[in-house]
């Protein structure tokens, strides 16, 4: 029996580590998606931002964020001993380190979302300073309200794997940044018309999307937190299937809508649609039926096309569509829980939505504003024209290819 407990602990820890590694792999997913959706002259910079923000998220969450969110200890507390585990009667069933590992890659995900929305005009180091504050304080504080056992969890707020806590949170911080930054030079004309600025590399954008899809099995699948009995294993499998179906339906819905609305099957919309389907189902991938998950994902795919078009009309310039994919679809995901989960209440969901969005948006706005009035957050017009690769990085992304 004791050996069985030990083995079950090992299995749950392993499950957590594997799922965490899949989520970590979302980092190149975001990097490739964003690198594909910006223009060539800002590609090295966005790659640098993605490497650095992932690293910063790991460091700040280790030093302070994990403690703020879960009271997990600065630099982590002690690991579970064998005695602890055996004495716990099943309450302690995976390694504390594996929990940190799984959680830390979520912080990085939230931060990755921001990077795409502010692309092509932000100063590298101001962005990285924002990343420090976001991953050390802004994200963990709101995370503590729900996953850390705070007031949102008591208010009955349901957000299984983080449509709101991770995705909408990242989008809210991004929105604050985009508002203070303003649109890219030349994006909107005085007559209100919009200049498209096509992304430089569609294969990278597609690769990034597929990697994110793959990593999402870890994101949602790992959020069940336990695997080692029949019910839990069935739950994880259910989460895998629902997650996959929502993504598939989001992609198809967005593709068809873009064909109908724009005349052609815009690949970038199909990619955003798949991601929107994933974000939409993230708040509750377990309790819904497959049919419900498919519908939720499909609606996410439709919403994202509308949201991208609308934000552009509002001159809210988001080169990769991050605010729509993670924010608008994240809100939809939080509300869709009301369809699939008996535990969720309208009040609970709206409270969570409002609290997370409000806190993140306001706190981010303040931090972005401080940066704006001290170091500055925006490249000069000449720097922006030349591209942030030449300004901040000094290394062109594709030095041999003529643009």
């Amino acid at each position: 029996m004791e050996d069985l407990t030990q083995l079950a602990y090992a299995v749950d820890t392993f499950y957590f580590l594997v799922m965490g590694a899949l989520v970590m792999f979302m980092a190149p997913g975001f990097a490739m998606l964003e690198a594909g959706m910006v223009r060539a002259k800002n590609t090295s910079e966005i790659l640098t931002k993605n490497v650095a923000l992932f690293s910063i998220a790991c460091i700040m969450y280790m030093v302070i964020g994990y403690d703020l969110m879960y009271a997990g200890g600065m630099m982590l507390g002690p690991e579970n001993t064998v005695d602890d585990v055996l004495a716990s009667g099943g309450d302690v069933y995976y390694s504390a380190r594996s929990d940190f590992f799984f959680q830390v890659v979520f912080v990085a995900t939230a931060m990755s979302i921001i990077s795409g929305a502010v692309a092509e005009r932000i100063k590298l180091w101001s962005f990285l300073l924002f990343a420090v504050v976001m991953t050390a304080f802004i994200y963990p504080i709101q995370g503590s309200w729900s996953w850390g056992g705070g007031f949102l969890s008591e208010a009955g707020f349901v957000d299984f794997a983080g449509s709101g806590i991770v995705h909408m949170c990242g989008a809210a911080a991004a929105l604050a940044g985009v508002i203070l930054l303003g649109p890219r030079a030349g994006k909107y004309n005085e007559d209100g018309s919009i200049n498209a600025m096509p992304g430089a590399n569609m294969p990278l954008a597609t690769l990034g999307t597929f990697i994110l899809w793959f990593g999402w099995f870890g994101f949602n699948g790992g959020s069940e937190l336990k695997l080692s009995n029949i019910d839990e294993a069935n739950a994880v499998a259910q989460v895998f299937v629902n997650t996959n179906m929502a993504a598939a339906c989001g992609a198809v819905a967005a593709l068809i809508l873009s064909r109908l609305a724009f005349g052609k099957a815009d690949i970038t919309m199909a990619l955003n649609g798949a991601l929107a389907g994933l974000v939409s189902i993230t708040a509750e991938p377990l309790s819904g039926t497959h049919a419900e998950s498919m519908i939720i994902g499909a609606i996410g795919g439709l919403i994202v096309v509308g949201s991208i078009t609308l934000l552009d009309k509002l001159k809210c310039d988001d080169p990769v569509g991050a605010i729509s994919v993670h924010g608008t679809a994240g809100i939809w995901g939080l509300l869709a829980v009301l369809i699939t989960s008996d535990d969720a209440t309208v009040t609970g969901q709206l409270t969570g939505l409002g609290a997370i969005f409000g806190w993140t948006f306001v706190a981010s706005l303040i931090v972005w504003a401080i940066l704006k009035f001290t170091l500055g957050i925006r490249l000069s017009p000449e720097e922006e024209e030349a591209g942030s690769d030449s300004t901040d990085i000094g290394v062109a992304a594709y030095p041999e290819f003529k643009g």
Binding site: I194, N195, P198, S258, G263, D266, T309, D312
Partner: protein
């Protein structure tokens, strides 16, 4: 000696090269360019936003020829590049004061 510059539709390049070789043209220099003329660009949508493609991909071929070959060359180019659709392109002719073959130092007609 004349420098004949033809701006043509890219997919016509191979036909043009063959036709010119047949009449004895020994060299040419090709550049990818973008052009704008009677043939107008078109509007594309990207993520719901319009963008106008003003310039269309064209291929520029430069051929230095002896005066004697000029008319035939122009004729040949016109034939080879023609599709009878708008955007077929144009031919420009300028006078060359001098031509030098770098390897041998030859100049003038024998260098063409």
């Amino acid at each position: 000696m004349k420098l004949i510059t033809a701006v043509i539709k890219p997919f016509k390049l191979d036909d043009l090269r063959e036709a010119l070789q047949e009449i004895g043209v020994q060299g040419m220099t090709v550049t990818e360019v973008r052009g704008f003329g009677r043939q107008k660009g078109h509007t594309e949508l990207y993520r719901g936003a319009e963008y106008v493609v003003d310039f269309l991909p064209k291929t520029k071929v430069e051929i230095a020829v002896d005066d004697s070959l000029m008319d035939l060359a122009i004729e040949t180019i016109s034939q080879a590049a023609k599709t009878d659709k708008v955007g077929d392109g144009k031919i420009f002719v300028t006078t060359l004061d001098e031509v030098v073959r770098i390897r041998t130092g030859e100049t003038g007609a024998s260098a063409v």
